[in-house]
């Protein structure tokens, strides 16, 4: 597939990620989805195109994924984040058997066998146990989300967080703070609670093979450690755990085009025009 370009765009609840792929990653951009940026999926795409030094017309196929995928007018196809994450993970870790993804508003487990998704589980009904939960608590604690992981590693007596509801957990944290419990012990307790939830969810799949941890929460070293201790084995992490969905989207697009070419069928694509995406 020399000279062909494939774009994957993953519109998550928190972050929008774009990959431009052509025999390797040519462009990779991560931007916020947030309320003030809701119309800017195309800008993230433009940044990625600039990195790849190609005009949008040069892209052969665009696949959108993530919960905002239906609102990408310039995508040729929509594919769920389950299939895209699995495909992206397989690119980086060909022996992956289980994927645990914790993003801004959901957590999921994906089971892979023979390079295919065979089963999945999801918690997508409530913020508890997601990245958003950590963001809310970080704000309450006055800690930058990026510092949560390193701080938690300093904990000496991690606390027990008994509430799974974000609001109640926040109250619990406030009262622990007022009792003078060190912030790092509280954060370690939170990581423990979320990792436990993710582990129990993924266990429904009967965890097998290499476990790969993806999504923004995989950037949190404290979470990685907590999850590993539940699993009793190391987890694999991509250099950039946010982009597996977009990567998978680009690769699945490439495979669709290849398949169409093999069978001699034409593949439908949209007019190459970057219009404002509606996310909400």
């Amino acid at each position: 597939m020399k000279g062909k370009y494939f774009a994957g765009i993953d519109i998550g609840s928190t972050m929008t990620k774009v990959i431009i792929y052509s025999e390797g990653i040519r462009g990779q951009v991560i931007g916020p989805t947030g309320p003030e940026h809701r119309h800017l999926a195309n800008i993230v795409m433009e940044d990625a195109l600039a990195q790849a030094r190609i005009p949008f017309e040069a892209v052969d196929y665009v696949v959108a994924t993530g919960y905002g995928r239906i609102n990408v007018p310039f995508a040729d196809k929509q594919i769920t984040e389950i299939s895209c994450h699995a495909r992206g993970v397989l690119h980086f870790f060909p022996n992956a058997g289980t994927v645990i993804d914790i993003g801004g508003q959901d957590a999921k487990g994906i089971k892979i066998a023979n390079n295919r998704v065979v089963d999945f589980v999801m918690n997508d009904k409530c913020a508890a146990g997601t990245g958003r939960f950590l963001e809310v608590i970080a704000e309450t604690l006055g800690v930058n989300i990026k510092d949560m992981g390193p701080l938690s590693l300093k904990a000496r007596n991690k606390v027990k967080i008994s509430s799974i509801c974000t609001i109640f957990a926040e109250q619990e944290v406030v009262s622990q703070l007022s009792e003078g419990i060190p912030v790092e012990d509280i954060i370690a307790g939170l990581h423990e609670a979320i990792a436990g939830r993710a582990f129990r969810m993924a266990s429904k799949l009967k965890i097998e093979g290499d476990v790969v941890f993806t999504g923004g929460v995989a950037k949190n070293t404290g979470m990685v450690k907590a999850l590993e201790s539940h699993l009793g084995r190391p987890v694999y992490i991509c250099r950039e755990p946010l982009i597996t969905g977009a990567m998978g989207a680009a690769l699945l697009g490439k495979e669709l085009v290849e398949k169409a070419m093999e069978s001699g069928k034409a593949i439908k694509i949209k007019e190459r025009k970057l219009t404002t995406a509606r996310v909400f």
Partner: protein
């Protein structure tokens, strides 16, 4: 608007949208309406006593506001919603109400209904949960009690000939429903799963013979119309708890899939089996309602091995899947349904064994979080593509 001028699909749609419409018309003409719950009260006995049977259902479109004063929120949401509708007067055309001990929830439901609604006639059929030699005798006794209760209430006797005649009327409707289902063996199917559910629900809210005429019209229409559901990649079967609206199926069919077959009680479970002609017609009714309806509420004595037991419990689903060219099965259940929830592990094991992809899909009765449900179904479709 009346239903007199309506036929076929349009009539089914109208009655589906306004479940009590036909019943109210009939009541105004002096007919008596007997509400029933679930697929277990034998309809032959109800129509034999000149009642028009009306299947009581809940509605996901109606927020539960009144029933919470009666039953707590941890119980079956469909029962809560049904009671709520009744307490709001949506079923005020009913003369009586019959339930059977189909799932355990319904054991208490009839009395609660009686307490809250105080209709002139209430009856609860305490049917057995097992299919053993003596269960048939026991069930027959309960059905005779039901018949006697209706006879005492109406002052009219129900004789054998009349029961036999009713069996023929109901069997004719069942045959027509099976014929309707045959139209979805085609690819693309000649009607959608959502249309099919609309028709099933409408049939349960109107007189039997009138329903059969409507079915004949629908079959003709489906065969001759050019605008069926069109081409899609995946053919699904839907198993599980009762559906009172088409929303779930519509959501599935908004994706690249047809729902071509079902195993739900507002579908095949209600209509599939005929009543056999027996010298005492009650024996045929007993056999059909106790052992031929394939609902997880019934415990069937297990065979020696797990494999044999699975085959005898779920073999019919394999046949459905083969005959309707099914690519995957959605095991759907409304939250808080024990009857269906306990069946899921065995079903998953069975489908894994026979190599048919299956996914468990749990939903809120109100279809809250529909986007998330849709995402799951979409992922399932990608997996089996």
């Amino acid at each position: 608007m009346t239903t007199a001028s309506l036929h076929g699909f349009a009539k089914a749609r109208k009655i589906y949208e306004d479940r009590g419409l036909r019943a109210r018309e009939l009541k105004a003409e002096g007919k008596k309406i007997m509400g029933y719950y679930c697929s277990y009260p034998p309809l032959e006995l109800i129509t034999g006593m000149d009642f028009v049977p009306f299947r009581v259902q809940g509605s996901i479109n109606e927020a539960i506001t009144k029933a919470d004063s009666s039953i707590p929120t941890i119980v079956c949401p469909i029962i809560r919603s049904s009671l709520d509708m009744a307490m709001k007067g949506k079923y005020d055309f009913m003369e009586g109400f019959v339930t059977a001990h189909s799932c355990d929830c319904q054991e208490k439901f009839c009395r609660i209904w009686e307490h809250e609604l105080k209709l002139p006639f209430h009856h609860y059929i305490d049917m057995p949960h097992v299919v053993r030699e003596n269960s048939f005798e026991q069930f027959k006794e309960k059905l005779i009690m039901f018949q006697k209760a209706m006879e005492a209430y109406t002052g009219r006797a129900l004789d054998r000939e009349r029961i036999q005649q009713e069996i023929r009327v109901h069997n004719r409707q069942r045959a027509l429903v099976r014929k309707l289902y045959d139209l979805r063996k085609e690819n693309p199917p000649l009607l959608s799963g959502a249309e099919n559910l609309e028709i099933m629900i409408a049939l349960m809210c109107m007189p039997i013979e009138e329903g059969s005429i409507m079915l004949e019209e629908i079959i003709q229409e489906a065969l001759s119309r050019g605008n069926g559901p069109g081409e899609k990649d995946t053919r699904l079967m839907l198993w599980g708890s009762p559906l009172t609206e088409t929303n779930l199926i519509q959501m599935i069919e908004s994706l690249n899939a047809h729902v071509v077959m079902d195993d739900i009680c507002v579908g095949t479970r209600h209509y599939w089996a005929d009543v056999e002609a027996t010298s005492d017609p009650m024996d045929g009714i007993v056999k059909r309602y106790l052992s031929e309806i394939k609902c997880p509420r019934t415990f069937r004595e297990s065979s020696s091995t797990f494999e044999e037991e699975m085959e005898s419990r779920f073999g019919y689903l394999k046949d459905f899947a083969r005959d309707w060219h099914v690519d995957g099965i959605l095991l759907q259940s409304v939250k808080y349904c024990d009857t269906h929830g306990y069946e899921v592990p065995a079903l998953k094991a069975y489908f894994e064994k026979i190599g048919l992809p299956a996914m468990y899909l749990e939903h809120e009765y109100t279809m809250a979080a529909e986007a998330q449900l849709k995402n799951r179904v979409e992922a399932f479709l990608e997996i089996i593509a």
